[in-house]
Point group: D2
Chain length 316, copies 4
Amino acid sequence: MSDSTDQNRQIDLEIEELRAFTRPTSRVTSTALEDRLYKIFPVLDHGFVRVIDYMGDDTSIVQAARVSYGKGTKSVRNDEGLIRYLMRHRHSTPFEMCEIKFHIKLPIFVARQWIRHRTANVNEYSARYSMLDREFYIPAPEHLAAQSDINNQGRGDVLRDEEAAEVLDMLKADAVRSYDRYETLLNERQNGRVINEDKQGLARELARMTLPLSAYTQWYWKVDLHNLNHFLSLRMDPHAQYEIRVFAEVMFDIVRDWVPLTAKAFEDYRVNSFDLSGPMLAAVRRMVRGETVDADNSGLSGREWRELQAALGLSD
Amino acid sequence: MSDSTDQNRQIDLEIEELRAFTRPTSRVTSTALEDRLYKIFPVLDHGFVRVIDYMGDDTSIVQAARVSYGKGTKSVRNDEGLIRYLMRHRHSTPFEMCEIKFHIKLPIFVARQWIRHRTANVNEYSARYSMLDREFYIPAPEHLAAQSDINNQGRGDVLRDEEAAEVLDMLKADAVRSYDRYETLLNERQNGRVINEDKQGLARELARMTLPLSAYTQWYWKVDLHNLNHFLSLRMDPHAQYEIRVFAEVMFDIVRDWVPLTAKAFEDYRVNSFDLSGPMLAAVRRMVRGETVDADNSGLSGREWRELQAALGLSD
Amino acid sequence: MSDSTDQNRQIDLEIEELRAFTRPTSRVTSTALEDRLYKIFPVLDHGFVRVIDYMGDDTSIVQAARVSYGKGTKSVRNDEGLIRYLMRHRHSTPFEMCEIKFHIKLPIFVARQWIRHRTANVNEYSARYSMLDREFYIPAPEHLAAQSDINNQGRGDVLRDEEAAEVLDMLKADAVRSYDRYETLLNERQNGRVINEDKQGLARELARMTLPLSAYTQWYWKVDLHNLNHFLSLRMDPHAQYEIRVFAEVMFDIVRDWVPLTAKAFEDYRVNSFDLSGPMLAAVRRMVRGETVDADNSGLSGREWRELQAALGLSD
Amino acid sequence: MSDSTDQNRQIDLEIEELRAFTRPTSRVTSTALEDRLYKIFPVLDHGFVRVIDYMGDDTSIVQAARVSYGKGTKSVRNDEGLIRYLMRHRHSTPFEMCEIKFHIKLPIFVARQWIRHRTANVNEYSARYSMLDREFYIPAPEHLAAQSDINNQGRGDVLRDEEAAEVLDMLKADAVRSYDRYETLLNERQNGRVINEDKQGLARELARMTLPLSAYTQWYWKVDLHNLNHFLSLRMDPHAQYEIRVFAEVMFDIVRDWVPLTAKAFEDYRVNSFDLSGPMLAAVRRMVRGETVDADNSGLSGREWRELQAALGLSD
């Protein structure tokens, strides 16, 4: 990771200061998350995830649920049981009582997918105010895949060695070239030095548009635990693009430390769950009664039948 | 239904005027919904649902999806297939492209549950500005149920005849009495006549607080189809309180006329679906392979085992 | 305050435990707010506000703004200047980086206004799961006002002594009576004791509807600082109903301790500001040039002219 | 405008069909907006705005307000007066009762600013599913401005002829070059033809990242009138970047046809209004009483004093 600008270095210094000493608090505190606070967890070639702040932990969810349900929660014997009950029955509001704030560095094309999740707070680095860093996402060779033949939005086979090498060369050359061009247009270098005293230089808000979508941006992203789980369930999915999935996986690892009971319930009831449609459920009922159900007599479309087979571990 | 105040009568007249003649439009139009427009569909004893306006229909969802996925949608042969695909894979944004506006009259305790759905637009009748009507929800005898012994938030057996009669008498007497008291505090009757010229009367914003939660209020409620479906899936659920469920059922009936393909997909993939947790899925995989799975060796908690048995139609 | 039920007592105990000792944290900490944490600040006769948790302080806003604007913030010399700049120019996202969680006890008619603010997280005590407390809002005599003659939504003169006494008697008698009736319908007392062994008792979700809107409810309410400020600016306004204004005022007092720089900027640029419309601005321009501007030649409607006169301190 | 792909041509055909004939509706209809429906209003060099659908008009706002305020709205004599009252006092919910759906084609760097407005529905063209068009934003020479010396986020003087010509040449060459590279990486042309049969081609979701932020994307964007006004007030502001401002101006022109009373109130109370801070108001009060107020005795910071002088037309 190369937080190369002065600006970033200054932010780092401030944050290190914050980390250097602790203060007493009466707030709910997660010891495991305190250990992770402010630390940089690298993602992709120049990106990262770090936790800036958080509110609450597993017990905050239980506390909020007890306010809601009063005596109604007495029958659930313990915190874990209650959290699992809430997750299973999609009682989402208690999970909204926890909040986490991340500092994320990510390629712009990933940021464009990410921002579609509207229920979060965002402060993004502005390329109208400041110059972007000389950093671009260049995939590792094993992630250079061809277009999938069967999935319109997915990747197929990894590119063969020679083609992969060519593609990498192109991506690298383009990144260098377009950052050079960005500096030329701005008439300025990252260190603030003007290139040509006789030129005015193009305004930052215009010059940035020559940069490719592989350029890195960064933001503070603050979200409650319910909406974070929703984000993770979509972005940890095998159909999510690899470059956002790796961010989601690092974040889920953090969530596991922060709210271990919730993270386990989330895995059981969201990540590893399978939603049987009405017609699928009818087919499974017949199967467990011992009937022979096949594609033709299942009442399912070909696509749904294959999805069900795969979920039940019955595919060839 | 007794829209008893002048204000309501005036609104009705305005709406009847709107309904009386039609205008040409180039917008997408749902013939079946046009027939329902502005009509009152009664719910409970004094409540109602009516559609005031709408935007889009099933084809609008397809159109929006085609903008998003471009050639990627070519492989889906027809509109129905695409809508079912979107619903199954929780691609929710195309459904947000349809919008509907309802006029709803409902008891305040129902309104309090309803408003928890935050992603909607609301204009509620204000009891600070105007006097509320003399209308209260009195359940039909067959809906007067005792507290459930097993479900902390639910109803159990219907009250026995004699107790039911007593309860009804109490509810009716209380409603009359508290509305009388409301008029006395305001020193005003619904027709605007002052009761006692020598008194000032309490401000409306204070007098209203003596009214019970069974009093009726009304609002305009505007929502997109995705969020309406989410509302319906929660409120048509057997665990939802009867008094809000009947509103949801009337609204779903309207949705069926408006966007029949979406309504069918919603039924198959939301209403009649069953979400297998990871551990449940593991148990079902064993069942369909012919293993004998019981409560003890299922790896499920007692509660989850019973839920699975019920879903698979294996309960006694 | 009378947190009379066992449930509430248990919550109190848990919270006292949390308060009893402190833990070390590397998070941003507000010393002044730590002192207020978990403490009950009474509002109205039985209501309260207490802070359960918080995230960030004034420096978190500055930190987020610096991530956004990079070097662009260098010209603003200090934190206070930057916060005032952000508030003045309605750069709202940095304020969203702070979060606070309140526990609020409030009358239901106040809760109904409050919940209209949709950008917040809420867990409300559920009267489907548990019995409500025997607590009702009875205004102090000096807050028993008549309907305003000039303002359709407001209060006018305070009721004269005799009428005020009568009104208070009625409100008190009704509160007692309706809670007695609630117990009768439930066939249960607050302590859980059944009243009549031969009766079934009405389900909680139905019995509650006989309670008046003056009954107290409670909730956890979590919100970011930007949306809290928006809530406060509307609810601290002199046109807001007194019974919600007093909650807003107590909360603003807490905000002043938590984020003093933001609170001061909020007062200068929101609470004490005045929005000149285009036509008003044209009139003021003429005034400061020395022209005599009156109602007739101002180009303003009568209502706007009076509002402008009042704002400029020129009313009689 | 060059909707060059087959996909776009097909969408156009479908839309022309919709436009070709009208259907009768009982819904509120805006004749002026019907004339604009589906038509393309060009923005920048390849962008556009077109209205796909709408719900409601000025009368819908009045209707919703009357449901809320009941008799309380009687004192406002007419629709225009009521709409102006609602706008002035920031009663925003009635404006949420109107909805509009746009189809927008815009450069990606503009889309990135736009999407920060979270309260809207979006379906964006996906470059994971489909290939983007060969279209890039190249500013007209008169919009090629240097970085402002005084405003960190703004533009200063227009570039001198020679430098402008150089910059344009660079931007054009880069656009052509990077689209060529996009095709090479994909191993495919816009017409679907494969370039080199021996190569696999990089997956679309990866190849897109070489495209610059000046590339065009498109989306359906649906929003209610209150949130549209908020968007317009921020994006029509002189401090907004030119390239998004021109979209906002075209959209406001459409709003003027759709809801003329609301558009006029919006201009008077938002666009042309000026928010006096508490300290500014104090200074103006002294001015209109005839006192001589200058920078030193105004009690304002230098920056605020200059803003006030400018607003009052007192700048030199």
